[in-house]
Amino acid sequence: MTTATLLAYVVAGVALVSAAGVVLSARTIYSALCLVGNMVSLAVLFLLLNAQFVAAVQVIIYAGAVMVLFVFIIALLDPGHDPDYEGPRRDPRLWVGIVAVGYITAQVFALAVNGTTYSKTDHVLQGQRLAQAAQPSDLHSFAFDPASVNAAGNVQVLGRELFTTFLLPFEITSLLLFVAAIGAVYLTRRLPHAPGPPVERTAPVAALPEESAPDAGRETVAVG
């Protein structure tokens, strides 16, 4: 057992424990903390799986940007109104659903592990065949085994794939981000006549300066 294998086992255990922590934590901020731990340990696993760029993106985008957004919203909301303080849902149908999801997931992954795509001889043969046909300058016969990818550079290979083979999905992804940004801006606009959060505030709400000219005209329209 190499050091990398040992590290993979340890980090996989950390990932599993922190994944359980996301669901089992009583407080939302602890769930977020466990999710950060899970994402970082997954980034380590990506590094071990020779996916350096995905690991970096995982840390920067997921553990950085997305989780900061989550923590920001958690800090914004009032923790006293956490509905899970009354305990989780206890509908018996839920447990049927949970068992069904676990069983189906286990079946799918067992099939995948035992399937033809995952036989060791096929993998070795395919790797050898690809390595024989490898011309590092030629994209379509490039062998994506770790040695060749690392020689050419992980980011270079990934970027070439992204901008040639997967150009259309890449552009559609950018469109998706654009639409999501527009949707977020539209959704977080200030509602006219909102009764406000269900909190007894000590400071007067009317002191907020945002309730000024642009909303004043809309309020009369939105009454009916």
Binding site: Y118, E161, L187
Partner: protein, 103 residues
């Protein structure tokens, strides 16, 4: 270089994380925790993609993982915008009560 028996183990980890995430979606009532559980499920799928890509000597799994990360970011942005807006509208933050978008 990791041993070859780690690949099915990571697939099992991916399956376990996916199941844990779906349990969180089903059981928890806080919409923030539900969103985090969805992120957990997407992470599990990412792990399976990268694991298979490494095992099959292909870079496609990593490309797909990047796309999944972008989709997860978009989903988090829209979901959190909805949550904050629901809170600002003065409604109780309970998934069961929010099954109707209108009041």
């Amino acid at each position: 270089m990791i041993d070859i028996q780690v690949f099915p183990l990571l697939l099992g980890l991916s399956a376990a994380m996916f199941t844990i995430g779906s349990v969180g979606v089903l059981v928890r009532r806080n919409p923030l925790v539900v969103l985090m559980s969805i992120e957990l499920m997407l992470n599990a799928v990412n792990l399976a993609f990268v694991d298979y890509g490494r095992f099959l000597n292909s870079e496609d799994g990593q490309v797909f993982a990047l796309v999944v990360i972008v989709v997860a970011a978009a989903e988090a942005v829209v979901g959190l915008a909805l949550v904050s807006q629901v809170y600002r509208a003065g409604r109780e933050l309970d998934i069961d009560d929010l099954s109707e978008m209108r009041e």
